[in-house]
């Protein structure tokens, strides 16, 4: 028996979610830059408000351009649906706020993007949601931190800044054994390098600002629902299994089955919190996603070239990249990330904080800024920027050495990047 053939990843990157515009024949996704939509009749309006007909009411909730992006990421991740948000932070918050309330608890990897850490550590506790942070390499620690109030396990495919490879299959087993979902921040890997749903995750969010769009011109986020978690069997999620007075006593599990989570997130979270993506932003993300497979391949080949160059450079103390045999997660990376381990990594420069500052001041082609995932190569020295108030001891506690440099490798000619890094490294060693 032959297996059925379906559209491949590259085709879906270009086409998923969009057909030629029925009104104009436009091949590209039109930007429907409108706040609202004319109803055909009072009954048509009522049917849209009551979830009886497909269509759009108000662009905070749905928009035709944004919907194409939502379908496309759902297709690439293998989910049932998605919501585009104003930022990756908004996506993270939307997912959490849809499932959790005051008194609930999260078990999270402690190797997180700083913005996410701030949300979990400092902001959500004000709303009664607490988090226990654990070593992402310690699956048992995730299990040990689960309490009767836990409602979510969370981690990043590649931790920040140590690039710990999250053992998604093992941690999802822990989550599901406790009737809990696992949420993954897959920003660094994109669905081209890693598809967390296939590994056992239940919810994914992205900062679309990074590799998904790839051009560094927008801020956006996406939350994607696998549709595979059994909310009813879990019995721990009344927002999905009990009537919701805020939408005519809608029962999301009963009425939307596999799409219960993402439907509640839209009917409540994007409606009430309002952190939606603009249609123009969605269009710009879509332009980037059309070339996602090609760009990610180039990101990976460039990164490998830079890692190889730095690993043997006399001014470099260490290079941390999971494809290197000396990385603690090398074997796991080979299994979970066979296409590559992303284009963001760190290395240590000899000479500590001062050498790091000299290096940063001398790079010319690479851009010194606080972002990753641009088509252009980016660099930052945390000890003199994002973490400049920390002394050496505090930095070490955060897993950051004084000479740590973080690179986000772009799509330039690799020789040009090597040349720029080489001259800056040489300069860094001259006091």
């Amino acid at each position: 028996m032959s297996k059925i053939k379906t559209f491949g990843f590259d085709t879906l990157s270009l086409h998923a979610g969009q057909r030629p515009d029925p009104a104009t024949g436009a091949r590209a996704t039109p930007i429907y830059q409108t706040a609202s939509y004319v109803f055909k009749s009072p009954d048509h309006a009522a049917s849209l408000f009551n979830a009886e007909r497909a269509g759009h009411v108000y662009s905070r909730i749905t928009n035709p351009t944004t919907a194409v992006l939502e379908e496309r990421i759902s297709a690439l991740e293998g989910g049932v649906g998605a919501i585009a948000t104003a930022s990756g932070q908004a996506a993270c918050h939307l997912a959490i706020a849809t499932l959790l309330g005051a008194g609930d608890h999260i078990v999270s990897s402690r190797s997180l993007y700083g913005g996410t850490h701030n949300l979990l550590e400092y902001t959500l506790p004000r709303f009664g949601i607490s988090t226990t942070f654990v070593d992402p390499r310690d699956t048992d620690a995730f299990a040990a931190a689960i309490t009767p109030k836990t409602r979510l396990l969370f981690g990043e495919t590649l931790g920040n800044p140590g690039l710990e490879v999250l053992n998604i299959p093992a941690i999802s087993e822990v989550a599901h054994a406790h009737d809990l979902p696992l949420m993954i921040d897959s920003t660094f890997t994109t669905p081209y390098l890693c598809q967390p749903f296939a590994l056992g995750a239940d919810i994914i969010f992205h900062s679309a600002t990074k590799f998904l769009s790839g051009h560094g011109v927008i801020i956006g986020g996406l939350v994607v629902d696998s549709g595979g978690f059994d909310w009813a069997a879990s019995g721990k999620f009344p927002t999905l299994t009990e009537p919701y007075a805020g939408f005519h006593n809608m029962n999301f599990v009963e009425e939307f089955g596999p799409a219960a989570f993402i439907t509640r997130a839209r009917k409540e979270g994007i409606r009430d919190f309002g952190a939606c993506m603009s249609p123009t932003t969605a269009f710009q993300v879509l332009q980037g996603m059309e070339t996602l497979p090609l760009r990610m391949q180039r990101h990976i080949t460039n990164t490998r070239a830079i890692v190889e160059f730095l690993a043997t450079h006399e001014a470099v103390e260490w290079v941390s990249y999971p494809e290197r045999p000396d990385h603690p997660d090398h074997e796991l990376a080979k299994k979970l990330l066979p296409k590559g381990c992303g284009a963001v990594f760190s290395f240590g420069i000899k000479g500590g904080r001062e050498a790091g500052q000299r290096f940063i001041s001398r790079v010319e082609l690479l851009s010194h800024l606080a972002n990753v995932g641009d088509a252009k190569s980016l660099v930052i020295h945390p000890a003199s920027t994002t973490h400049h108030r920390m002394d050496a001891k505090a930095l070490a506690a955060a897993g950051i050495s004084e000479g740590l440099i973080r690179l986000s490798v772009g799509l330039e000619d690799p020789d040009d990047l090597v040349e720029d890094l080489g001259q800056a490294l040489r300069a860094s060693q001259k006091s």
């Binding site: 028996m1 032959s2 297996k3 059925i4 379906t6 559209f7 085709t11 879906l12 086409h15 998923a16 979610g17 969009q18 057909r19 009522a46 049917s47 009551n50 979830a51 009886e52 007909r53 497909a54 269509g55 759009h56 749905t62 928009n63 035709p64 944004t66 919907a67 194409v68 939502e70 379908e71 496309r72 759902s74 297709a75 293998g78 989910g79 049932v80 649906g81 998605a82 919501i83 696998s226 549709g227 595979g228 005519h248 006593n249 809608m250 029962n251 009963e254 009425e255 939307f256 089955g257 596999p258 799409a259 993402i262 839209r266």
Partner: protein, 262 residues
């Protein structure tokens, strides 16, 4: 609503509104391996427009308990019994794919129970690809892939959902993955074994509407012609561009067609 029947406790979705006495009723019957969630949009519409709605989960499907019915006629019996339990004397019977055969059987064998009939993505006899049956017998995911992707037109396999933000194929995959082991095989075997469709069609007395997908490769329009000809009071609506999953691909056009018969 929960319905205690001889087939077990069955679940019926009412369109988020309680039944009222004196209202006409619409009964929806899902296809192979599926459940009531495929009918949420039209259920909510008809419930708001003064109908009692019963989108039934067939035995062992969705939230319904009991053993699966192994023939189309047995499924139709379960529908009729569920209607009786819900105090529904007659209804517009709406079925999709396997559910259309169930509705056809019910309308033919219990004519007093059928006010009208809507057969969506229907044909009889309903051929089932042998690979599909073999995969189903092995509980191999291949049958879910076939039902999903053959169930959508080529265009719809790339999305473009009228219902914003939802990936149609992903939803169908997840829904079918929830079916218990062997259930899809039982359903497919029931479809294949239903050999009284044409005679049942000749016995149907109520107004009947066929709603077919122009690009349906599982129950192609041409394959439905004998069945259409066998029904006395019949209308046909072909939805342009749609594959077999008409509720997902063309939800608004489907609803408009249903309004004309319900």
């Amino acid at each position: 609503m929960e319905l205690e029947t001889r087939s077990g406790n069955l679940f019926g979705y009412s369109g988020a509104r309680a039944h009222q006495s004196g209202q006409d009723t619409v009964v929806f019957v899902h296809g192979t391996g599926m459940d009531h969630t495929v009918w949420v949009l039209p259920s909510r519409y008809f419930a708001r427009h003064g109908y009692n709605v019963l989108a039934l989960d067939l035995p062992a499907h969705g939230r319904s308990q009991g053993s699966p019915a192994t023939t189309i006629d047995a499924m139709a019996d379960a529908v009729i019994e569920a209607m009786a339990t819900a105090n529904i004397s007659s209804a517009a019977l709406v079925g999709h794919s396997m559910g259309s055969l169930v509705a056809l059987s019910a309308a033919a064998r219990y004519p007093d129970r059928a006010r009208s009939l809507a057969l969506i993505g229907s044909t009889a006899p309903m051929g089932v690809h042998p690979d599909m049956l073999r995969y189903a017998a092995d509980n191999d995911h291949g049958v879910i892939d076939m039902l999903t992707y053959w169930g959508y037109s080529k265009a719809a396999q790339l999305g473009g959902n009228e219902n914003p933000g939802l990936w149609m194929a992903g939803n169908t995959l997840r829904l079918l993955e929830r079916a218990p082991d062997n259930l899809i095989h039982i359903d497919l075997a029931a479809c294949k074994g239903y050999d009284t469709g044409l005679s049942h069609a000749q016995a149907v007395a109520c107004p009947t509407l066929f709603i077919l997908g122009e690009r349906d490769i599982m129950t192609p329009v041409r394959s439905a012609q004998k069945l259409i000809s066998a029904v006395a009071k019949t209308q046909v609506c072909v939805l342009e561009g749609s594959g077999h999953s008409l509720m997902m691909e063309r939800p608004d056009a489907l609803l408009d067609a249903l309004i004309s018969i319900v």
